[in-house]
């Protein structure tokens, strides 16, 4: 895989950035909807900053799209976006024409009798994949696969961190609200399936 692939360092960096933005969220009063949106964008930005811009395109794509949406609409940014769209459409056209003439590597993997169908299917799926990965629009097929691998690895890590954070917060809020259920379980010594060993640090 290209670029840095240190998951632990990424998780800690992600968590650090996330906590900072969570604390600033806490300070301002928001509706639940506003808070949901704020946390989602904080998570995106934390992902991108923790990953860094070496070896992958998606972090920069996330950062540039979030900065353009958060700042007031600016003429130059609109122009940049339009230029990017034009470049993307040009690249897609070029690719489509080229794939029609020669054999792209994807077509080679299909049997010759169904090559045309396979090619169309692959092109359709590649288009979908491009939309799912930030910044995927401008990549060629090989880079797209590299990018997808990198992105999936970091999404994994993000999900793991978010799960642990919500578990920790839930335990904490359960403890502070003094629910009898949880304390009873502790006294009985029942081993919970998912959280048995994790009760100790608290």
């Amino acid at each position: 895989m290209r670029g840095p692939c240190n998951t632990m360092a990424f998780k800690q960096g992600f968590l650090g950035s996330l906590l900072l933005s969570l604390q600033s969220c806490k300070a301002t009063m928001m509706s639940l909807e506003e808070r949901k949106r704020a946390i989602k964008s904080s998570a995106d930005i934390a992902m991108a900053t923790a990953r860094g811009v070496t070896g992958a395109r998606w972090p920069r794509a996330i950062l540039s799209s979030s900065s353009s949406s958060s700042s007031s609409p600016c003429k130059t940014q609109g122009k940049v976006r339009r230029c990017k769209n034009i470049v993307r459409r040009y690249h897609c056209h070029k690719r489509r024409r080229r794939d029609g003439n020669g054999t792209s590597f994807f077509a080679r993997t299909a049997s010759s009798s169904s090559a045309e169908v396979a090619r169309r299917l692959v092109k359709k799926r590649t288009r979908v994949l491009r939309r799912m990965i930030p910044g995927g629009e401008l990549l060629d097929e090989i880079s797209l696969l590299h990018e997808a691998m990198d992105y999936v690895v970091h999404l994994h890590a993000e999900v793991d961190v978010l799960r642990r954070v919500s578990k920790a917060l839930r335990r904490r809020s359960d403890a502070s609200s003094g629910r009898s259920a949880s304390s009873a379980q502790l006294h009985e010594g029942t081993v919970q399936v998912s959280g048995g060993s994790e009760l100790n640090p608290c």
């Binding site: 968590l15 993997t109 799926r125 590299h146 999900v159 917060l169």
Partner: protein, 85 residues
């Protein structure tokens, strides 16, 4: 093929495909090992990324609900950091 990348060997492509397959959840690996088509692989990858996105969304929603019921914030940071050490 794109001239800017030079010639890509079949070996590199297969390596790329198997690496990507290794990342996807178990269910996809039980099928034919190296001969699964490119389109199937792309479909798996797309749906997996979609499900990861959905999970991140759900977790963020849960987090925002938890946060609105919390009073003090700083001890949380300590607990959470200790989870990752």
């Amino acid at each position: 093929m794109s001239s800017r990348r030079g010639r890509i060997t079949d070996e590199e492509i297969n390596e790329l495909i198997s690496k990507l397959q290794a990342l996807l959840p178990e269910s996809s690996r039980s099928r034919a090992a190296s001969r699964s088509s490119a389109s199937k692989l792309l479909k798996e990858t797309c749906s997996y990324i979609k499900s990861l996105h959905r999970e991140v969304d759900d977790l963020s929603d849960r987090l925002s609900e938890l946060m609105s019921t919390m009073d003090d914030n700083s001890p949380q940071a300590e607990i959470i950091r200790s989870l990752l050490r």
